[in-house]
Each structure stands twice: as C-alpha cells, then as structure tokens.
Amino acid sequence: MKTILQSCALAASLLLSSVSAYAAKDGGTLAFLVQPEPPTLASYVSTSGPIGLVMPKVYEGLFDYDNDGKMIPILAESYDMSGDGKTVTFNLRKGVTWHDGKPFTSADVKFTIMEVLKKVHPRGPNSFREVTSIDTPDAHTAIFNLDNPAPYMMRSFSAYESPMVPKHLLEGQDVKSAPLANNPVGTGPFKFVEWKKGQYIRLDKNENYWQEGLPHLDRIVGRFIPDASTRTAAMENGEVLYAAYNAIPNIDAVRLKERDDIGVTTDGYSMINPMALIEFNTKEGAFVDPAVRRAISTAIDRRFMIDTIFFGYGKPATSALSSNFKATNLHAEMPNYPERGDVAAANAILDKAGFKKDGDGVRMTAVLDLIPYGEDWRRAGEYMKQVMGDIGIKLELRYEDVPTWLKRIYHRYDFAMNINYFYQLPDPVLGVHRHYGTNQIRKGTHFVNSSRYSNPTLDALLDSGSKEPDAAKRTATYKEIQTILANDMPVVNLFELQFLTVYNTKLKGAYGSAMGAYGSFREAYLDE
C-alpha cells in the first residue's frame, strides 16, 4: 500500500515538475535596446520607430495579429462585418481598466478613432478615411459606419498602428500637446513609470491587467545606447536581452548567431514590409527620361548590395510591391528589376536613348542624396556612385542631416536621386500608394510623392484598387499598376529589407505576435 502511494506521489510530482518546466516563470526585469531614443511617447501622434518599441506595451489596440496573419482579440473580443462591408460592429472586452483605474469603454474607442487617429495620426486619416461615424449603443459595443468598404482597415488595429487612448485624459485638450504624451496611461500589460532622458524608459508590471496571469515580467526597461559596437557588447554581456530593427549591426548579428545563448530571427516584420528604393526627380534634372531610370534599375546589382551591406539579409525587389504581398495575391513579378545587374544592357539602353558618352566616358552628372538614418545607407550610396560610373553617370555624394535633407527633398524638390526606404505596411493602400498618386504630390509633406510622378491612368487604377472588394479583380488591378510602374519607374525599388531581431535565448514568449518588437510582450518571460 505504502509503495503504491509512494509511486503515485512520485508520479504526481514528476508530472507536476514537467508541467511547470513548460509553464512560464513570473518575475524578472527585461532590459532591451531602444535605438534611437524616441522624441516623444505619444504613439497616437507619431509612428516613429523607437516609440513603437516601447508604447505598444503600455497602450493596446483592438486586435493583435499572429505570425499567420490571424487577428487576435485584445481590446475587442470579436467583430461582425455587414455584407456590403460598410458597417463593422466591434464587441469590446469587458472589465478592462486604464492604468489610472477608470474603465475602458466604447466612448474611448469612438474618441480615439474620430478625434485622434483620424485627425493627428500620420496614417490614421488614410487608414480610417472611410469611417464617417461611430455609434456606441452601450459601453462595450462600437459600430463603425463606412462610406465605402475598406478591407485594408482591418489590418491596422494593432497597438502600434492604432493605439486606444483614454478619452478622459485627452478630451477638451490640444491632442498634439497634451500631458498624456510623456505620462502615458493605457490599458496594456505594463505601466509607464519613468523616462530618464539619455538613459532608459522604465515600465512596471500592470497588476490589474485584464488577462489573468499576465504579464509574467516584473519590469521592462528600454535602454538607449548610441554606439553600435557598444550595443553589441551589451548584448554579448547579457546586459540587454533583446534588440530589434537592426539595433545590432548585421555584421555583429552574423557573428553572434554562432553562440548558443543568442538567437537571430527575421520574424516579426511581416506587417512592416520595408523596401529600399531610389526616388527620382521626374520633372527636372538628369533623370526626367524614364529610359534613364530603367537603365539605372538594370545596372544595379541588388544581390551584391544585399550581401555586402546587409550581409545577406534581404530579397531583391521584383516589382513596385514587396513579394510579401504574394500572401494576398497582389504581387506580380516584373521586368527591369534584375537581381544581378547588367551593365552592358544598361549601357545599351542609354546609347539607344541618345545619351552619348563624352571623352571621359561621362554621359551626365548628378548629385546623389541619401537617407541620413544609419551608416548602411552610406555604403549603398558609395556603391551606387561606382556602378553609375560604369554606365557613364557621374555622381557626387551628398550627406546631410535629417532636417536639411527633409527640406531639400520634400519641401524644395531640390534633388535628382534620393536613396530611401519605406514601410509598405500590410496593404499597398497604406504604404505604396503614397509614392505614385497625383493627389500625393503635396509639397511640404514628408514621405509622399516626391518624384512628382503624375499618371491619370495609374491614378484611376490606384483608386479602384483601394476600393475593390473582390479579390480576383483586385489582383488584376494591381498587376496593371505594377506593369505601368515597371516601365515608368519614378521610383526604382532596390530590395526588400529583412530586419533582424537579436535576442538572448533566456527570453521566451516574446515571439508570438506578427508585430514582433512592436508587440506588447505580455507573454514574455525569462527562463534562466
């Protein structure tokens, strides 16, 4: 009898211990890299990258998205869409409170969408442009009334893209300068505690989080370290456990990958779709002839750029859209985007177009500008100068700081060729249209149609593409769009960037959201 009991006890304890080995451990502080230091914490006003690393742990959205693209209920438990796509009813989660104790209700959702995101958020006015009104029949139901169906809108409810903010702290104030900006109050798993400028941001566990048992971590601290090599050293030393968006330079990531306690992944960026590209001035200067732009696109060795600058992390562009849009059948492969670059063919195009070489082999000269965020783009510019030299285009490089560069490109159009990169986001309407539409030629607004390309046929296609509910028709529309752009090339796409996340293997549970580093870390825990 005794032995049976003993063996039962033994079996039970073995079972329990094996179960607990897979269960998340509570406690601990996660220190991770935030690079560079964010200018503000108002993620409802700014989509600056570093803000996205920190604030989605404090604010939440209606949904999150897992790695397969499925919607995960966060502040909304479910939604119903009407047949015509013009009415969307969201059933909100009950029992959620803001960090200051007040309850989260549909009034907050209505206020956030109509008064904040549609008015002052950089992408909100576009993402929610079809929403004309929101009804709130009770505290936990929000009904969105749309003018036209907006399939892309359902992809923009993450905490990064559309954070829910407290009406009671913003109502009646100037949203852009309210104190909430640097004293955030959200519903998320972590509460804001302090921001020591130049050092760190500290977030503590929200004891009253709506999900039982979460979060696991006691504290999250985002550290600012300006020097890239020091960031790598901090990672090697275990002083930080997580670094996303290439905070660790690729060359070091490749080296750290060899260690057992450090992992490197390209997951977590599928909602971002970053694309490196060249914006051309199509109205003045050396590159107004599309043949020249096609020649340039033909000469570039995209694979070389990816291998030498990003150490293999990237995919050569094959059209104006990222190949990640294959998932929604919108991407189509196009000519004029060679992987390896063909200098001879490029030279032929230029010869045929009538641009003769002079005695020194030079056909034309121009200045090349490039995005001032990061060292890697300088290498891209230097490569560009060499390869352009091979086809007779003499380039001079120009490095300027951010405000000077922004003014030059987007306020004065005083450029010929500009290397840049953009997020194409989960739907082309959100991140691609802005380069090509005539209505996107808005002098003084950053990061929209700077090439001043204007094609009425394309405009019509862009418009119908954004409204088309039928998937097959949408595919056909975007194929036409890409074909036109492959020929006109006001913007030459270079390659799809693959951002890296470098992490210490003792950090677990931080990888389930498609938002990656822009996620909430609610399930993250430390396992020694």
Binding site: P39, R123, E239, P403, L406, H446
Partner: protein, 328 residues
C-alpha cells in the same frame, strides 16, 4: 592699495564685464544656429512618419518659430533675463530641467578625468624633464603620444572588449545598472563602477597634453638664468626643481587645465557616445541635429558662464604663481 584689494577690484570688474559678454555670446550663437537649415518642426515631422504642411505650420506657430528672427531673439533674451532658459519643444520639458538632469553626469566624468589627467600628467612630465633624454623620458613621451594619437572610440571600444567582455570587471555602458535600481550607498558604488572605463578612456587622451606641456615647460624653466644662479649658489637640484622651477613651469599647465575645464560641457561627445554616458555633450550633439535650438542655446550659455568663471580663476592663479604678473 593692497594686493588683495586690487584683486577683488579686478574680480569685480571682470564679473561685470562678463554680463555683456554672455549677452553677446547668446546673440551670436542664436544667429549662428539659425544658419543651419531646417528647424525642430521638420525633424519632429520627419520622425513622426508624416505631417501635413498645415500641421507643421500649427506647430511652428505654437513654438514661436514663425516669428521673424529678431523677434524670436528678443523673446529669448527677455526670458533669459528672468533666468528662464526656455522650453525644449522636442523633449517637451523646460530646458533648465534637461540641463540640470545631465549636468551631474557630465560633471562627474569631467572632474574625475581632469583630476586623473592633470595629476598624472604633471607627475609624468616632471619625471620626464628630470630624467631628460634617458630611457625613462623616451618611454613617457612615446606613451603620451600613443595614447593621444589613438582614436578615442577605438580606445573606448578596446576598453569595453578587454575589461568588460573578456574580464568582466566592469559594465559595458551606461551610468547605472538599469535592472537593479539601487538606492543610497549601493547606488553610489554602482555609478562609480560605471564611471571607471569612460574616465580612463578620456584621461588617457588628455594625459598626453599635460605630460608634454609640463615637460616642455620644465625644460624651458631649467634654461632660465635664475636656475643657473641658483645652482651657482649651491642649492640642491631637488630644491631648485620643487621650490622654484615647478611653480613657474605650472603656468602653461594651468592655462591648459583652465581651457579644459572651460570646455567641460562639450566634454567628449565621442566617449559619451561610446559608453552611453548621459552627459551634456551628447545632449548638445542630438539637439543640434534635432534643431532644438532652445536647448542648444541653453547649453551654450551655461558653457559660456563656466568659461568666463574659469578664465577668471586662472588669471588669479597666475598672479599667485608669478608675482611679476600684474593684474591691470
């Protein structure tokens, strides 16, 4: 008039002169900074990911950036007169708060650097001069030169690799351990441990300056007549060196140290960058590229007050070191 009252009068005069100087500095810096293209609104909008011209115009109106330059200057000067250094629109905080926050960090780093660099520099320079052209002299001189000539970031990074990664004696960066949040004495020890590598890196650099200066100055003094006289009188070499020559040789060293203390705030942008030390140097650098002019002007003004004060102190020290120097 006694000497000390003469000095007091001089100090008073210099302090009074200081005020229009600080004013002139503010005005010049203001116009200089405005020569840079673009403004804070451009940077904020660029970082936000997008902004319409209307939004940017609104921001400019709010920040007062749409006023003509002379008006902006008047507003700034008026505020400064009431000791209001203005508001940093980028950080959403008063400039004075931002500066005082970071001043402690800069002060710590630079004070320990100066003590280390001047202390060792004077000692080494003295030693080199006393053992002129022997191997000791050569070793010291070459050592000083090598530490001066090696790029600062390289030294910093090597320090991190050797002492932090390989040996594990010190943390890689930052001013405090952010996972631990120490209080009291523990916090002091924590900060001290973080201070070691940045201080050594920066000191090595300035060491060369003081070593070379001290050595050259000592040699110059040894060649003076009064030394020959002293020797003829039979004084020991030791006495000559430490009682007479040293005092005179310290003059250029004092000047150099004065210049460095005055440059306290610029400090070393590079060391602050490599070690993530939250000082005023990095703050000034970032505010330049963010066109946060109020903040940058505030830092420049603090720097000017410091330099004026230090130059004054140096001039007073001159008088005590060399009675033949008169204050006018």
């Amino acid at each position: 008039m006694t000497r000390s009252s003469k000095i007091f009068k001089y100090v008073g005069k210099r302090l009074l002169q200081g005020i229009p100087i600080i004013l002139a500095i503010v005005v010049i810096n203001f116009f200089l900074l405005n020569l840079a293209e673009g403004d804070a609104v451009d940077v904020l909008a660029g970082e936000a990911g997008s902004a319409t011209p209307e939004y940017m115009a609104q921001l400019r109106a709010k920040f007062g950036l749409d006023q003509p330059l002379p008006v902006q200057l008047m507003v700034y000067l008026k505020n400064v007169a009431t000791l209001d250094l203005g508001y940093s629109f980028r950080h959403d905080m008063p400039v004075s708060d931002l500066i005082f926050d970071r001043f402690a960090a800069t002060g710590l780093l630079m004070t320990s650097t100066i003590i280390l660099a001047v202390g060792f520099g004077v000692l080494l320079g003295l030693l080199a001069a006393m053992r002129l052209n022997t191997w000791k002299d050569t070793v010291i001189t070459v050592f000083a030169l090598i530490t001066y000539a090696t790029p600062l970031f390289w030294v910093g990074l090597m320090m991190i690799v050797v002492f932090s990664l390989k040996l594990g004696w010190f943390p890689t960066s930052g001013m405090e351990n952010v996972a631990a949040f120490y209080e009291g004495w523990d916090r002091v020890k924590d900060i001290a441990v973080h201070l070691v590598l940045p201080t050594i890196t920066l000191s090595l650099f300035y060491l060369a300056l003081y070593t070379r200066m001290m050595r050259a100055s000592m040699l110059e003094q040894y060649g003076q007549d009064y030394v020959i006289t002293a020797r003829a009188k039979g004084l020991t070499e030791r006495r000559i060196t430490f009682v007479h020559v040293l005092r005179n040789a310290l003059l250029p060293v004092v000047t150099m140290a004065g210049v460095q203390v005055g440059a306290l705030i610029g400090g070393s942008v590079i060391v602050e960058s490599v070690f993530a030390w939250p000082g005023l140097g990095m703050l000034a650098f970032e505010s330049l590229f963010a066109r946060d002019l109020n903040l940058l002007l505030g830092i420049f003004m603090l720097s000017s007050i410091l330099v004026i004060a230090v130059n004054l102190v140096v001039d007073i020290i001159y008088c005590f070191l060399d009675p033949r120097i008169e204050v006018s």
